[in-house]
């Protein structure tokens, strides 16, 4: 068995290798071109260095030649085995490794038509045959050019020496003749050929393409200097004659006729002549030097501009580029920008907003480090995905700010690795799982059913060898630290889509042998992959028309920050910071003040709502305005549990935070930042070392962290910085090892769960509006509300006994149980949950309202006085954690509307829902929305950004209701009991055209007995009546029975009878209803 597996593995490996080879072959032409280009650059470098040496007048001829031999080898194909010698009139200049061999290339140095020396290049080892022995034609040209350059140099030096002698003589004469001398020096310099001209001559011989580029650059340079001559010259080449019809005609349909080579040469000459006239010689030389330096970036530039360029090649090119000296200072800004944007598009995102920010933030060098941490198919062109791009950009922006901002100097970032988005494709192909790509087009129910199977299928697959090796590298890099595997899909990068939480993020404890660690890492990645095809994200994509987007899943792997105490590994604290506060607990807090959700241990409990526990909420800009002011509230709403990684079992565990803190009090760094001691109605900082920790009443408050450390200031500045640079509100995940704060993730806040912005609809008729407000609105949408519970403010205040007010609270509490969960809202006077002075609001507790979905507080002006509302403070955190929204309403204020009359006009259903509260019908109104509009529901759209909220009656959605009912039927029906093969939906409900009285048409493929058939029809009959009754309540329309059931048998299908044709005919469409399989 083991043998077989090993064999199989080997085969796979060879398969992969072959694939790789083919691919390499496939890109060969490109490779050659780039290779050639690089060779040219090498030559140019060589020229440049030689020119530089020659220009240094301080060096003697001999010194110069000794320097020159050293710079020649790099220009050859195999620099490491190249040696050079210059022989000049009996003197020898050679490289250190010089040795005469059989593989030689030489060229004579000629001055005054006499051979005065020779330049020789040898290869120390045998190389494959090229044009001239092992040497290339280009290398022959090069050596000749260098020899020529040397000849000119020596000639020049000799002339110079001669001139010097002449000058000395002249000086002497001058001195003799005093004032009668002629300034000969000027004439002399005109005669001299400038070194840039020497380079031009060389290029003309060896590399016309580079010459062309230099010419272009010079022409452009002159053009920018507004040189008139160059403008005239350019006009001559491409005449713009607006009157000439011919020209116009040509410019429309034909390209400009190509100038022949002769013309080109003459233009080139003219350009440089103009240059010579208008630019000083040394400036031209410097320009040339710069331009040639810039050419070093050409291979990278060209490479980056190509689409779909493989990962390995980019990595190699980046490395090669940075291996060169002073390369970053030389590269032109335009080239740099264009390389950077190309790389950003290649790895991060195409979205312009992102590229715009990223291109100024990132330096080219940063990519070197990023590429080093990427794992993916070597020949792949995948991206890093949204999450990774977000966190990389945030890291870069913060790091830049850290240099000048002392507050941020201690911010850290976890070690991160990236798996490219196309790895999932290579994984799928490698394991022949290609059929998963159609999963997204399946029926939601089927997706849900298939998901566990799919996950198992993924988990029993393997990764290609190259990826496994990449993962091995990752595991080794992380050493023994636990890691988190996060999804980083392409869609996650898009603004406005709340993909967070839809794809999985998984912890990997990273324990055991290396193979075990790789295995569990792979498992985690596969599970994240499988979540790409999960029902929730697919449903979400379907709703937003993103189904056809080619979603790929990148992976971000980060170390988990923290400390090991006992069997547990955990950060001291962690959480999420939002730059917009969507849960304002006081009117003094604005949305812009931001919000932090912070918990002890892993951040999981801060990111998700856990219901039975509370994170600490605080506004970084308003740290003094606590959510819970009173000591007892602060104790009540403090976190009691935390998530930790148990490194012995490898599981995430939820532990009693206080117990763990007590046990490992001395081992956890900065634990005193997190906890306070509750003592006689006060919360005191736990920093007293004399404290009896075992018996102290420990409360997690983060009091010390907020009051005495820079934490909130750091978070505030990070949020401010990122929001400013990225241009949208952001949320940031963080964790602290106690001593150091780490930033883990950053994304636009619009992607956060549950706070997707939806603007208030503007086309709602006045009579459909229930209320509208422009004050203290937070973002959130509540739809499909069926009931309104309204406590009439005037009536409530008029109650003459406290006891009656208590009774109203009891009614609310009972309604909370009776009304459909999360389908009703509460509207009432003043402060919901008021204690003590209960006249101010109904004295309910959280448990009395926990099934509602929104609570509205009404502040009606009385005698010029607007009562202060509670903002839900009595149980604010309960509301936040269970996602019950809060809205204050100020009727009578100009920016508020409250159409109270609607509520009075409707029938009060209180006594129908609850017995024995007839007396309270004037105080408590229970309104069914479908009474106002048959089948209608209430929608409350709250747009915090625009600070407006609207509640309006939405007309019936008959289709949704019917679809829901069909699912109920499918759940209730036992196919085996009634002999059902399958059920299909046809007609208006299937087509989506159902109206208020439409039947639901069902086709039942029946295989059972007559008795079963009777039973089945009776069963459907009962359902039909039940639905008709419900529909009547919804819409007011009478129907006999809402179900229209047609039975077809195998025989009908054979005969293709009329109903059966629905299933058999390719032109009719039906929707198969997934039934519960057996009971």
């Amino acid at each position: 068995m083991t043998m077989e597996t090993t064999m199989a593995d080997k085969t796979d490996f060879t398969k992969y290798q072959k694939k790789d080879d083919q691919n390499t072959a496939g890109i060969a032409p490109n490779g050659t071109m780039i290779h050639e280009l690089k060779e040219r650059v090498k030559e140019l470098n060589c020229f440049y260095r030689i020119t530089k040496i020659i220009r240094n007048s301080k060096l003697s001829v001999d010194e110069a030649l000794q320097e020159i031999v050293k710079v020649i080898p790099p220009a050859w194909q195999y620099p490491e085995i190249t040696c050079v010698r210059i022989y000049l009139e009996g003197r020898e200049f050679k490289t250190d490794n010089f040795q005469q061999t059989n593989w030689k290339l030489d060229s004579n140095i000629i001055v005054d038509e006499k051979i005065i020396g020779v330049l020789e290049v040898f290869y120390l080892e045998e190389q494959s045959q090229a044009n001239e022995g092992p040497f290339l034609t280009e290398e022959r040209k090069l050596i000749d050019a260098i020899a020529d350059l040397l000849s000119k140099f020596i000639e020049e030096r000799r002339i110079k020496e001669e001139l010097e002698r002449q000058r000395q003589k002249l000086d002497y004469v001058e001195k003799m003749m005093k004032a009668e001398g002629e300034p000969l020096a000027k004439i002399r310099s005109d005669e001299k050929k400038q070194d840039w001209e020497v380079i031009l001559d060389l290029l003309a011989k060896t590399d016309p393409r580079t010459l062309l580029r230099l010419t272009r650059k010079m022409a452009y340079h002159l053009y920018r200097m507004e040189n008139e001559k160059i403008t005239t010259l350019l006009n001559k080449i491409t005449p713009v004659d607006n009157d000439s019809a011919a020209v116009n005609w040509r410019s429309v349909n034909m390209s400009t006729p190509r100038e022949d080579l002769e013309t080109f040469l003459s233009i080139q000459k003219q350009v440089f002549e103009i240059a010579k006239e208008s630019i000083p010689a040394d400036v031209i030389s410097t320009l040339f030097a710069n331009w040639m330096m810039q050419d070093k970036a050409r291979p990278l530039l060209l490479m980056s501009q190509k689409t779909g360029i493989p990962l390995v090649e980019i990595a190699a090119e980046l490395n090669r580029f940075f291996d060169q000296e002073d390369v970053e200072t030389a590269i032109s800004l335009e080239d740099l920008m264009s390389i950077k944007t190309a790389l950003i598009r290649r790895f991060f995102a195409e979205r312009l907003e992102y590229v715009n920010v990223a291109k100024t933030a990132f330096e080219l060098k940063d990519f070197l480090g990023i590429v080093d941490h990427i794992v993916g198919p070597a020949q792949g062109a995948g991206k890093l995905g949204g999450k990774a791009s977000g966190v990389l950009l945030a890291e870069k922006l913060i790091r830049e700010e850290m240099k000048r901002n002392p507050v941020l100097k201690n911010i850290n970032f976890p070690i991160s690795w990236y798996i490219t988005s196309d790895t999932i494709l290579s994984f799928i192909h490698y394991n022949d799982l290609d059929e998963v790509s159609h999963v997204k087009y399946l029926d939601p129910l089927e997706i849900r059913q298939e998901q566990p199977f799919l996950e198992q299928m993924f988990k029993s697959s393997t990764f290609p060898f190259e990826i496994v090796e990449g993962l091995r590298k990752i595991i080794r890099d992380f050493k023994d630290k636990p890691v988190i595997v996060r999804s980083s899909s392409l869609l996650e990068d898009n603004f406005g889509y709340a993909f967070s939480g839809k794809y999985k993020s998984l912890f990997v404890p990273n324990i055991g042998t290396e193979e075990q660690r790789i295995c569990s890492l792979m498992n985690a990645i596969m599970e994240v992959y499988a979540s790409t095809f999960g029902p929730d994200p697919i449903e979400y994509r379907r709703e937003r028309g993103l189904l056809d987007f080619n979603e790929e899943m990148g992976i971000l792997i980060q170390e988990v920050v923290g400390t090991q105490v006992g069997p547990y590994f955990m950060p001291t604290f962690a959480g999420v910071a939002f730059s917009r506060n969507e849960f304002r607990w006081s009117p003094r807090i604005t949305r812009e003040d931001g919000m932090v959700r912070i918990v002890p241990g892993l951040g999981t409990r801060a990111v998700d709502r856990v219901g039975n526990d509370y994170p600490i909420l605080i506004s970084p800009k308003r740290p003094n305005l606590l959510v819970n002011t009173l000591v007892e509230e602060r104790v009540k709403y403090s976190p009691r549990f935390m998530d930790v990684i148990n490194t012995e079992t490898g599981m995430i565990e939820t532990v009693d935070a206080v117990q763990v803190f007590k046990k490992y009090f001395d081992d956890l760094p900065k634990i005193n930042d997190v906890i306070s001691v509750h003592d006689h109605g006060r919360l005191i900082n736990a920093s007293n070392i004399l404290m009896d920790i075992e018996n102290a009443d420990i409360v997690i408050t983060f009091q010390h962290l907020f009051e005495k450390t820079e934490f909130l200031e750091q978070i505030k500045q990070i949020l401010g910085l990122l929001e400013e640079k990225i241009g949208v509100p952001v949320d940031v995940e963080f964790a602290s090892s106690g001593n150091q704060l780490y930033i883990l993730q950053c994304r636009p806040q619009s992607q956060s769960q549950g706070i997707e912005r939806k603007p208030v609809p503007k086309d709602i008729p006045e009579d459909r509006k229930l209320f509208f407000t422009k004050r203290y609105v937070t973002t959130g949408n509540i739809e499909n509300i069926e009931y309104i519970v309204y406590v009439v403010p005037e009536e409530y205040t008029n109650l003459s006994k406290r006891e009656q007010m208590q009774r109203v609270a009891k009614i609310i509490s009972e309604l909370n149980v009776k009304l459909p969960r999360r389908k009703f809202i509460l509207i009432g006077p003043g402060r919901w949950g008021s204690r003590g002075d209960i006249k101010l609001g109904v004295p309910i507790r959280y448990g009395d309202i926990n099934n509602s979905t929104l609570i509205v507080e009404i502040a009606k002006e009385k005698e010029g006085y607007i009562p202060e509302l509670s903002f839900g403070t009595h149980f604010f955190q309960d509301l936040v954690e269970s996602n019950i929204r809060y809205l204050p309403l100020y009727p009578g204020q100009e920016d508020n509307l409250f159409n109270e009359q609607i509520l009075f006009d409707m029938e009060n259903k209180l006594s129908k829902v609850l017995q024995g509260y007839k007396n309270f019908e004037s105080v408590v109104k229970v309104i069914s929305i479908s009474d106002m509009l048959p089948g209608g529901t209430l929608s409350v759209i709250m747009d915090g950004e625009a600070n407006e909220a609207l509640a309006y009656i939405k007309p019936a959605d008959h289709l949704t209701w019917r679809t829901m009912k069909i699912e109920e039927i499918a759940q209730a029906l036992d196919p085996d009991l009634y002999g059902i093969q399958g059920i299909y939906l046809i007609g208006s409900t299937k087509d989506g055209s159902a109206g208020p009285t439409s039947d639901i048409d069902l086709l039942v493929h029946f295989k059972g007995t007559e008795e079963q058939k009777d039973k089945l029809m009776a069963w459907f009959d009962e359902w039909g009546k039940k639905l008709a009754k419900e529909n009547k309540e919804r819409t007011g329309f009478d129907t006999d029975a809402l179900l229209d059931v047609h039975i077809i048998t195998d025989e009908d299908i054979k005969k293709k009878s009329s109903w059966a044709s629905h299933i058999t005919s390719p032109y009719q469409t039906v929707r198969k209803i997934t039934l519960k399989k057996g009971i």
Partner: protein
């Protein structure tokens, strides 16, 4: 800035508070109650006039620089209902929509409470109109100090003694004390009560209310010829009052068959029942700091878990409502088992008047809240005495003195109730009011 207001009967509004025109009015209710007792006592018109309204009402502005540099003016106030028997005593509340009549009613109630316990203090109440949820701690400190600066001359250890109340805590009291001492130039720990022990608080404070209740119950049972060791009781609640009441009751040999508590996680109340009597220690062990008993563990320990309202229907001798107001109402009072002989109120206002009428008819003795839970205010008085003397007692000393005070107070009320054949709560009111009225007369005020 400070306005000392004379009494303006009937019209008496200061404009500080929201006007109450209709509906439930706590002050009116307190006055009606007073009038009823005054009729019993046949009080003269002048005394009634004096006692129906507070003696003094102060209202003033407290300008504060907020954290953001802006300026905000808050309204502070103090109502001194009556100080004929001693310095006023009463809480300071932070409340965003405080109404004048609520504070008046509360201050009157304090006068009766101190009087029925026979401690030499009068009644007062005060506070600041604000919502501490919208204030930072620093701003709250400024408010407390600002409040003292305006009223320092009219409060003090021998004049009016504040204490923590709704939305104020020991911390607020310490700020107030510190500012007062700064103004007065001396140590005056007797200015306030509710201080931590290190800064002049009294020992035995946590136990005081619950123990006080049981001291009275002990004496009542003696009077009713019931052997406390043979009695059973059901408790509503499991907070401070209920827990210490249970502790002492069990110590005296009684049996508590059930306690009830609010379950944080399930958002509902449960009643924990054990026929043979609860073991307080084991229950406290499985109770979190919010007073929620661990349901599963309680079941393991052999407790029967019942709906929260079932505490009322237990077949016991004594019911002790010690958690919520309006727990015993017209609708459920008939469910009380005939065996029940005593209802002793630990919570404030747990029985509605209608329910009390019914119980009286059934011959059940009801010990009213302001007598039964007076242990708290007596201990505050002890704290003040200790602070003024700058000499502090042991816990045993405090609880011993508390026992004496409560026992005395009970017998005075019980004796009157027997003699005049009125229900205990009426007797308690009668004693309280007549003591105050007597003091006013002696001082020559009426």
């Amino acid at each position: 800035m400070q306005v000392k207001q004379d009494l303006k009967h009937e019209k008496g509004t200061t404009g500080v508070f929201r006007k109450e025109k209709e509906g439930f009015n706590p002050f009116k209710m307190a006055q009606q109650q007073f009038d009823r007792i005054a009729d019993h006592l046949e009080l003269d018109e002048q005394t009634r006039e004096l006692l129906r309204f507070p003696l003094r009402e102060y209202s003033f502005s407290i300008p504060i620089h907020m954290d953001d540099g802006s300026m905000k003016v808050f309204r502070g106030f103090r109502v001194q209902h009556n100080d004929a028997r001693g310095p006023c005593k009463g809480g300071i509340r932070f409340h965003p929509q405080e109404t004048q009549d609520t504070v008046r009613a509360l201050s009157m109630w304090m006068t009766w409470k101190c009087s029925v316990a026979d401690i030499p203090l009068g009644g007062g109440k005060g506070g600041i109109i604000c919502d501490p949820h919208n204030l930072s701690e620093r701003e709250q400190e400024k408010l407390c100090r600002g409040w003292v600066r305006q009223i320092a001359r009219d409060i003090g250890p021998v004049r009016d003694v504040p204490a923590p109340d709704v939305m104020t805590s020991g911390q607020h009291m310490l700020w107030i004390m510190d500012e007062y001492e700064t103004i007065m130039g001396g140590q005056y720990p007797g200015l306030i009560t509710g201080k931590p022990v290190e800064l002049g608080g009294s020992r035995g404070r946590t136990e005081a209310t619950g123990y006080g209740l049981i001291y009275i119950l002990r004496e009542l049972l003696k009077e009713m010829k019931m052997d406390i060791t043979k009695t059973t009781a059901a408790l509503q609640g499991f907070g401070n009052v209920a827990r210490y009441a249970a502790e002492l009751f069990i110590q005296y040999g009684g049996t508590i068959v059930s306690v009830s508590c609010w379950d944080q996680t399930e958002n509902s109340t449960y009643c924990y029942y054990k026929k043979t009597g609860i073991n307080l220690e084991e229950l406290v062990k499985i109770t979190d700091r919010f007073g929620t008993i661990d349901k599963k563990q309680a079941e393991k320990l052999g407790y029967q878990v019942m709906p929260g309202d079932d505490w009322l229907t237990q077949d016991v001798d004594i019911l002790i409502p010690a958690a919520l107001e309006h727990s015993i109402i017209e609708e459920n009072v008939q469910q009380i088992k005939p065996r029940v002989k005593v209802v002793i109120c630990g919570a404030n206002g747990p029985i509605t008047p209608e329910a009390e009428d019914y119980l009286e008819k059934k011959g059940v003795v009801v010990i009213p809240d302001f007598l039964a839970n007076a242990g708290g205010v007596v201990c505050s008085y002890f704290e003040q005495v200790q602070s003024n003397q700058n000499y502090y007692w042991t816990k045993e000393e405090v609880l011993g003195k508390l026992d004496n005070k409560m026992t005395d107070a009970f017998y005075k009320v019980w004796e009157l109730s027997k003699r005049k054949k009125v229900r205990v709560s009426d007797a308690a009111y009668m004693i309280a009011i007549s003591r105050v009225a007597e003091a006013c007369k002696m001082r020559g005020w009426v």
